[in-house]
Structure formats: structure tokens, C-alpha cells
């Protein structure tokens, strides 16, 4: 059933808000994208996407209730070691960390070190706007986009921008982690699926990475 030219991208569906636009954006980017919680389909996929919107704790609860937390950890760890491609988006990126000050009682997936902290009080929260990326090292996610790179952010909490895996930041009351990369695991604080043509180019780059032999 699967078209070899359209890699199967499993977008983890754990019952949170707007996942449909993410699925449609991946389809535009050339993938056979499925919203799914089906473990066998996820196992067969060429790439795994962990989306997320809303509060950190609510997303972690929903991910655990759908019994997809271990699936997400395994997929992210394998990608970080150079295996099947993985992309976390927004709270889907935040959950990769150990925790967040937004929901102190909830543990994160712990694939990346550190905790999320609230954006400074000197700026409006959430950051709900387009912002410019400062790309601080080359990433295949950005290989096809040209400077200046404008992308859409919606978040109130952010990861430590000095982390070793950070490949891009934006300036919002100071440097803010915008994207991380480890092996073939990528994660973005911004929403590529909501960043117009620029975001679609990034998703195409991710889909292309998903097609590469590992």
C-alpha cells in the first residue's frame, strides 16, 4: 500500500488539539503522513513525529494515557543514535527534556538534559509571533532555507539556549532555544507546519532525511 516515493511518517496521535494541520503539512512536504497511535504502524514508519500543543503536564498525561510515552522515548533515542528520523514539535520538543517549570509535578521523557523555564517577565508571554532564527550550526533541517529564516512560535517556556544540542535560537528577551539536533533526532520550539513556505521546506528536508538509508 505504501508508495516508496512517499515515506510513511507516523504523527503520534494522543488526543491533543490541532494535529490535523501537522498531518496535512507533512503530506504537502511529500510524506504519507498518518495520525496514529497504532504501535505496529508506528513501528513500520520511516519517521516518527511527536507534536504537542498546550500545557506540558497535560501533554505528558495524554501521552502516557495513550501509552505512547515509551514509544516516543524509544523512537527519539534511536534517532539520536543515528537511526530512524524523529521530529518533535513545540511541546513535542519540550517533552524530550527532563521536565518543565510549567508542570513541576510531571516528569518529561528525559531524552535531552535539563528543564524548561518561563520566558522572562520583560516580554509578553506566550511568545506568539514570527521570529528570526539565528542558526548557530548547520543542520539538514535548514539545508534548503535561505537567510533570513522567519518561523512561527507559540510558547511561554523554553529550554536552556546554551545546551550542546541547540542548532538555532531566536531572540525574545534573550536567546531562546528554537531547534535542537542530535544524530537524526530533530526538535523545534517553533511550528514548521505553521510557518508558511519556509516551514514546508523544513518539513521537506525532514522527509528527505527520513528516506535516507540508516
Amino acid at each position: 500500500m505504501t508508495d516508496p516515493a512517499r515515506p510513511l511518517v507516523a504523527v503520534l496521535d494522543y488526543g491533543i488539539g490541532n494535529l490535523r494541520s501537522a498531518q496535512k503539512a507533512f503530506e504537502h512536504a511529500g510524506a504519507d503522513a498518518r495520525l496514529t497511535a497504532d504501535r505496529s504502524l508506528i513501528a513500520d514508519a520511516d519517521a516518527v513525529v511527536l507534536p504537542g500543543v498546550g500545557a506540558f503536564g497535560a501533554c505528558m498525561d495524554a501521552l502516557r494515557a495513550a501509552q505512547l510515552d515509551e514509544v516516543a522515548i524509544e523512537a527519539a533515542v534511536a534517532a539520536a543514535a543515528g537511526g530512524r528520523a524523529f521530529l518533535g514539535i513545540c511541546v513535542g520538543m519540550q517533552m524530550l527534556y527532563e521536565g518543565s517549570d510549567e508542570s513541576p509535578d510531571h516528569r518529561g521523557l528525559g531524552v535531552l538534559p535539563g528543564r524548561l523555564s518561563l520566558l522572562p517577565a520583560t516580554v509578553k508571554r506566550p511568545q506568539m509571533q514570527w521570529n528570526l532564527l539565528d542558526i548557530n550550526r548547520p543542520s539538514s533541517l535548514f539545508s534548503t532555507v535561505d537567510d533570513p529564516v522567519w518561523v512561527y512560535f507559540v510558547h511561554s517556556y523554553a529550554a536552556d539556549a546554551s545546551g550542546a544540542d541547540v542548532v538555532a535560537t531566536c531572540d525574545y528577551g534573550g536567546p531562546v532555544t528554537a531547534a535542537v539536533e542530535r544524530g537524526r533526532m530533530w526538535a523545534t520550539q517553533f511550528h514548521p507546519e505553521k510557518s508558511g513556505g519556509t516551514g514546508l521546506q523544513m518539513l521537506q528536508a525532514f522527509v528527505a532525511a527520513a528516506q535516507q538509508e540508516v
Binding site: N18, H191, S195
Partner: protein, 263 residues
């Protein structure tokens, strides 16, 4: 870096754009999806659909419109109008909307703000406030009761509530609103520019972004909404719909005036 957003607003009735949009080269000027794609291509930062559908039959067509928009438009969009319950919000968000805007329903039952925020996050809850200057207090910053010069109206501006705009905005944020869509009823339709005094008063009193709405007649008004009104985003309808200006022109003008926008 704080950047300003430019947001065209489309009024839709039973899934069709109303208030005569006049663009050259559209196959169907009443098709919200085609218009949304056009605004996306012009550089709009977000879109807002205001659903004025009265009948419950028409509501399904709105969900379908949201679904079709999400298939073709890859910038954030908000749907407002007719959302009275968490179920209403869920249907719109699951269909592909990024945010829902609530107005009368939030005043009637403020817990609705918390309920939607708890399930889907603050970022998707826009509280829309229709504000009108109090006639007896238009020039006074606050009277003895602590009320400022603007009152909240609901039911499309027909019903006064007695609520103070600043107090209501702050309460909405404390309940979980992630953004305030602030419309000046005094300026709406006048083309005299935003009520920047109102906008600044609200923007300075809440921690979340504020969208200025009502009164845009030219591109300089967009600049003033940001620089004088201290809004985070500016909403406009007629100057874009009737082909007077493109979103690109608006952004070029704002950039020249020193406002940071995505080109």
C-alpha cells in the same frame, strides 16, 4: 525581539465570505479557503475567521471550511463566533483551527475560558472584547470606583455588560486567555484609525499579546496600532478585502516606519 503581526479578518456566513470582498483574479470571491490562501501568499502572519452563521445547520459548513483551510493554508488561523462550549472549541481545533476566539460566551460563563485552556492550552484561547467608551467617563482615566473609560459589550455590540474593559481583560488572562482581541466599537467601520488610548491601556495591563481591531483606514493606522497602541498584532478587513492595499504593501509601510515585521 518583539515582532508585529498583520492579521486579515474574514467574516463568514455558512462557510461563505460576506461583506463583499473585491479581489482581482479570484475564481470565487466568496470562498474563504481561496481567500485565505491568497492572504497567505501575500505574507499575512495569521488569519481570523469570524463566523456569523445564525443557524445551527450552517455550523457544519463552518467545520468543513476549517477542515479545507487546514489542508491548504500553513499559517496559523483562528475561528471566532458561535463557540459556546468546550465541545464547540474541540470540533474547531480538531478540524484544524489553531485558536478559537470567544466573546459573549466568555462573559456569560467565564469558566469556559479555563475549561478550554485546561484541555487545549492557553495559547489557543483568544478572548475577544468589544469595547466602547463610557459616555460620561470618556476623558477620565478612572472614576472613583476604579473603572476606566471603557465598557465591555456583548451580543455583537448590542448589549452593555457594565464590565470594565481593563478589569475584564485581566480576569480573562487570569482564567487562561492566551491572547486578547480588542475591538473598539467607537472606531469600528469609521476608518479613523485604532483607538490607541484603549489599546495601550489594555496592552499595558495584561501579560499576553493584544490584537488591535476596529477603525483601520490606511497603512499608517497599522503603524500607530503598534507604536502608539502598543499592540502586538493589528487586525484589518476592508483595506485588504477591497484591494486598496496588499498585505505586502502594509508590511513594507510598517517596516519603513521602523516596526519589525516578517517581510
Amino acid at each position: 525581539m518583539r515582532t508585529a503581526r498583520v492579521i486579515p479578518c474574514l467574516d463568514v456566513d455558512a462557510g461563505r465570505v460576506v461583506k463583499g470582498v473585491n479581489f482581482i483574479g479570484l475564481r470565487d470571491a466568496g470562498d474563504p479557503v481561496e481567500l485565505a490562501a491568497r492572504y497567505d501568499a501575500e505574507g499575512a502572519d495569521e488569519l481570523i475567521f469570524l463566523d456569523i452563521t445564525a443557524s445551527s445547520d450552517g455550523r457544519e459548513t463552518v467545520v468543513d471550511m476549517v477542515r479545507r483551510t487546514a489542508e491548504q493554508v500553513f499559517i496559523p488561523f483562528t475561528i471566532g463566533g458561535g463557540i459556546r462550549t468546550v465541545d464547540d472549541a474541540r470540533r474547531m481545533l480538531r478540524a484544524g483551527a489553531d485558536k478559537v476566539s470567544i466573546n459573549t460566551a466568555a462573559v456569560d460563563r467565564p469558566e469556559l475560558i479555563s475549561e478550554i485552556a485546561a484541555e487545549f492550552g492557553n495559547q489557543c484561547v483568544v478572548v475577544a472584547i468589544d469595547a466602547r467608551a463610557r459616555r460620561d467617563a470618556a476623558d477620565a482615566p478612572a472614576d472613583a470606583s476604579g473603572q476606566t473609560g471603557w465598557e465591555v459589550f456583548i451580543h455583537g455590540g448590542r448589549t452593555p455588560t457594565g464590565l470594565d474593559v481593563i478589569e475584564w481583560a485581566q480576569r480573562a488572562v487570569s482564567l487562561g486567555a492566551g491572547e486578547i482581541l480588542l475591538t473598539s466599537m467607537d472606531r469600528d467601520g469609521t476608518r479613523d484609525g485604532f483607538d490607541t488610548e484603549l489599546t495601550a491601556a489594555v496592552s499595558d495591563s495584561v501579560t499576553v499579546p493584544v490584537i488591535a481591531s476596529g477603525g483601520v483606514g490606511n497603512l499608517q493606522h497599522l503603524v500607530e496600532g503598534i507604536t502608539v497602541g502598543r499592540a502586538d498584532a493589528v487586525l484589518a478587513a476592508s483595506i485588504f478585502h477591497f484591494g486598496e492595499h496588499t498585505v505586502h504593501e502594509a508590511k513594507a509601510h510598517m517596516t519603513a516606519a521602523g516596526v519589525i515585521v516578517r517581510p
